[in-house]
C-alpha cells in the first residue's frame, strides 16, 4: 500500500479530484492533531506550515472532502 500511495503522490498524471481528496484527509488529521497540541483551533497558516503546503492549497484541498462528487461529476455529464 505504501508503494501505491507513493505512486499516487509522485505521478502528476493522477486526477486532481483524487489527489486533493488525499490531501484533504491529511488536513483533517492535522487539524485534530494541532487542536490537541495548542488547546485551540489552529489557523490556516499553522496547518499549512505543519503540512508544508501553501495556505491556498490547504483551502483548495479542503473543499475536495466536502462534496465527494462535485469535482468529479462534470466529467461524466
Amino acid at each position: 500500500i505504501g508503494e501505491i500511495q507513493r505512486f499516487i503522490r509522485d505521478d502528476g498524471t493522477v486526477k486532481v479530484s483524487r489527489s486533493l481528496k488525499e490531501m484533504a484527509n491529511k488536513i483533517r488529521r492535522a487539524k485534530e492533531e494541532l487542536s490537541k497540541t495548542y488547546g485551540r483551533v489552529p489557523t490556516v497558516n499553522e496547518i499549512a506550515e505543519h503540512l508544508e503546503l501553501s495556505p491556498e492549497d490547504i483551502i483548495l484541498a479542503q473543499e475536495a472532502n466536502r462534496n465527494p462528487s462535485s469535482i468529479h461529476e462534470t466529467v461524466y455529464e
Binding site: V41, T43, V44, N45, E56, I59, E63, N67, S70, I71
Partner: protein, 146 residues
C-alpha cells in the same frame, strides 16, 4: 493595508464551490482559524445558493458578483445578483421563512449569515436584484482568546 478583489461567475451550482474557495483563499491572508474560515465559507454558500435558486431561479445565464475588502482584521463581503429580488426583506430574514418549501430548503440561510457574521445589510428590490453586505472582524490575539 487595504486589499480588494471582485469576482463574477455564471449562476451554476458547481460554482458554489468555486466561490467558497475564492473567498477563503483571499481571506487566508489574514490567517483566520480553520473555524473562522469554515464560517465564512458557509456564509458564501448560503448567499450564492440563494442567488442561484431564488434570485435567478436556476437560470444559468444569471451572473453572481462577489466583492471582498480586507482592511486590517476586518472582512467586508458583498454578494450581489441581478435576479428577481426580495419582496419583503424583513420577512425573508425570519428563521424558517422560505418561499420554496418544496425544495426542502431550511429557511435558515439568512439566520446562518447573521450568526456567523458581525453585520448584515440586505438591499433588494423586486425585479432588480439583491445585494447582501456582510462584515466580520477576525479575533485578534487568537492564542489568548481561546
Amino acid at each position: 493595508m487595504k486589499n480588494k478583489m471582485e469576482i463574477q461567475f455564471s449562476a451554476l451550482s458547481q460554482n458554489e464551490s468555486f466561490a467558497r474557495i475564492t473567498v477563503a483563499a483571499f481571506i487566508a491572508q489574514l490567517d483566520p482559524t480553520m473555524d473562522e474560515l469554515t464560517e465564512i465559507k458557509t456564509v458564501v454558500s448560503e448567499a450564492v445558493t440563494n442567488s442561484i435558486i431564488h434570485g435567478y431561479e436556476n437560470d444559468p445565464n444569471g451572473v453572481i458578483y462577489i466583492a471582498v475588502i480586507l482592511d486590517g482584521d476586518t472582512i467586508e463581503l458583498t454578494i450581489r445578483d441581478e435576479g428577481i429580488g426580495i419582496d419583503d426583506v424583513e420577512e425573508a430574514k425570519q428563521p424558517l421563512f422560505t418561499t420554496k418549501p418544496e425544495l426542502e430548503r431550511s429557511g435558515m440561510g439568512f439566520t446562518i449569515m447573521e450568526n456567523f457574521m458581525d453585520e448584515i445589510h440586505v438591499i433588494s428590490h423586486q425585479g432588480e436584484g439583491t445585494i447582501i453586505r456582510l462584515k466580520k472582524h477576525l479575533a485578534r490575539n487568537k492564542a489568548l482568546c481561546n
